[in-house]
Symmetry: none
Subunit: 216 residues, 4 copies
């Protein structure tokens, strides 16, 4: 997460005890994500979030300044899970190509695991003031750099054509996000693992220099 996240978070709460703050906030945000994803941000009331978290309405405002804060926290929560789980999936992967494949698959899997929340980020980021939108976009970029790094490595080793890293990265990102964005369509046609392997196939055909040896 960007270095000033904690700064932002700090300003939100009126409570001293840092441990309790973190724990409570996690509980509140978990409920908020679920409700916002299900019903939309604007249609969800702070009362509902409080009930979902098992606390009183007023107490929510001890951990959050605004309903808007709740949204920011919810979206950051999703992005954070990307930033945590993708690197985790890379452990044990050897060689740039393997790391690339693993990243691709990992991204798709996180999106699948947090499908509704991913949609939330797409739908509701714009409900935040510009400054906070930028904050979220920065967080997204951080994950993107993980992917870009893998692709760069493959190019450096001559495995991939020398394409524009940025565009290739977004091919991966959008493919993963599409699993959430167009899930209503894909769910009727395929399953996650096929989606991943077909996507990888497409991606590698587009980039590999020596198809014959590496795709299969």
């Amino acid at each position: 997460m960007p270095s000033d996240t904690s700064q932002i978070l700090k300003g939100m709460s009126r409570t001293a005890d840092a441990g309790l703050v973190k724990e409570r906030r996690a509980k509140i945000v978990a409920g908020a994500v679920r409700l916002f994803a299900e019903q939309g941000y604007e249609r969800t009331t702070v009362q509902e979030v409080a009930r979902e978290a098992g606390i009183s309405t007023g107490l929510v405002y001890q951990y959050v300044r605004d309903k808007e804060d709740l949204l920011l926290l919810s979206i950051l929560d999703v992005l954070e899970s990307y930033a945590t789980e993708i690197p985790a999936a890379l452990e044990g992967a050897e060689g740039p190509l393997q790391r690339c494949r693993a990243t691709f698959a990992a991204y798709c899997r996180v999106v699948d695991a947090r499908r509704e929340a991913t949609l939330l980020a797409y739908r509701s980021t714009y409900s935040l003031p510009p400054e906070r939108q930028r904050f979220i976009k920065d967080a997204e970029q951080k994950t993107n750099r993980l992917i870009g790094g893998c692709i760069q490595d493959c190019i450096d080793e001559g495995l991939f054509r020398p394409v524009d890293i940025d565009l290739a990265t977004y091919q991966v990102v959008m493919y993963a996000h599409a699993w959430a964005l167009k899930h209503w369509h894909f769910v009727k046609r395929t399953d996650l693992e096929s989606y991943i392997s077909e996507g990888l196939d497409f991606f590698l055909h587009a980039l590999l220099t020596d198809l014959g040896r590496k795709v299969p």
Copy 2:
């Protein structure tokens, strides 16, 4: 657009004069799209839409049953421009590959032309009741079939690998949509025409059977 669109639209207005209804509605929807795209659906008031259209609040309800109707009309307006402009761009394109390229470029250009409105569709479709969401998704599918048809033709002629049409279609769709969804990012790096040509390059590398001859 699905055959029963007119049915849905008809039920919305309380005014008899069909010509006036169409004209006024166009004016109202134009403003609504702009405002919804700018501020979000929920944050935009019907009063604002009325003011933007230069009419009174009450009059809006002569042409629309609901604020929700306003949203449906706004989203359909975008999808309709896809369905109109993509086929138009195909005129004069000869041969499946040329048609494929033309479609790809056309889609990106429509999305660019209606960038904000495309975002609106992504953000706010979920604010509609399920039945109407389906209606929108159907409209989207219709455009997708245009793309799928081109790809199928290329496969039939042996130009493309025999990939899953559906997935390849969504590669195109998502690439075009990404120009709107991630515009905040791309705008700093590239322009529409480069975006299109680089995307096509990626897409064709992934699908063409005989790269040497056809890509460059």
Copy 3:
């Protein structure tokens, strides 16, 4: 109708032709009575009244100043039918007792014929300004005097006990009105003719001086 009804009515219309005014107004009021009775005065829109009368909204205001005027006219319409039909029913009735019986029955029958409209008068008179309420009450009194007259005659001839005319009159009035006011109840138990004869029986038992001879 009271002598100044025409004065009131005159002020309502902006149209010169007295014949047309009367005819149109009758059509408008007929629809208004039906709609007001069915849905209530406040829930009925002037637009609906216009549609029911087969004319445009604006035209209603040529024959009526106000929506309120529409209500006044509607209620007067009911009272007028009382004032017309009750005397009509007395024709041919001979002797005070026969006239009393005829009046009693006639009132019940008019109420039955205009049941919904009678309810309208009960429900909505209070929606009018005090002055107009008084106007309606005066109209009602006129009918009441018809009844009072019959009772007085019976007393004068020694057929009835010398009771308070006013109270006895209201016994009749309320009994007739009850057929409308409590119709939801009576309709399950009896029919109009039984209702009338049982009511008469009760009434005559209460008033006749010589029961043995006259009731059966």
Copy 4:
């Protein structure tokens, strides 16, 4: 009151504390009855009801789901006072005839005490959906059975002629209600106590088998 009243009432409030709910609701309804009776249901705004109760507009909706609920509660409030006060007036009355007289008088007195509210019930019941209208009519029937019981007893003991209980009951009911419905007329002519005794006289003359001994 019907056994499921509490069920209906329960669903109306969003506040847990049952004691507070009851107290507040009583305050709100008291004001609502006054205002509805004075100005009519449709003409009274929820804001006015709130102001009358000394609370904010929003708070009204913590104790009531709808403006319509407010009306239902208001009407039930009147009927409830009938159901409470009439039996109370019977205490100490001995013998069927005395009980009958007491009931008659009690009903007239409750109507007098809640005259405006009685009118409200007559005027505005139809503003409720059919199901709730039935609910109110049921409540009314309960009171009517009290009256019917007294009359039946008098018949059983040979004091009254064997008339139709139902019709005799409604004679009483309508006479009492008439004190409210036609108060604008009676108030100029008589007072409550005379109204009661003259009404009783009429009623007993109509029903008693042995007039000579019991009326005076």
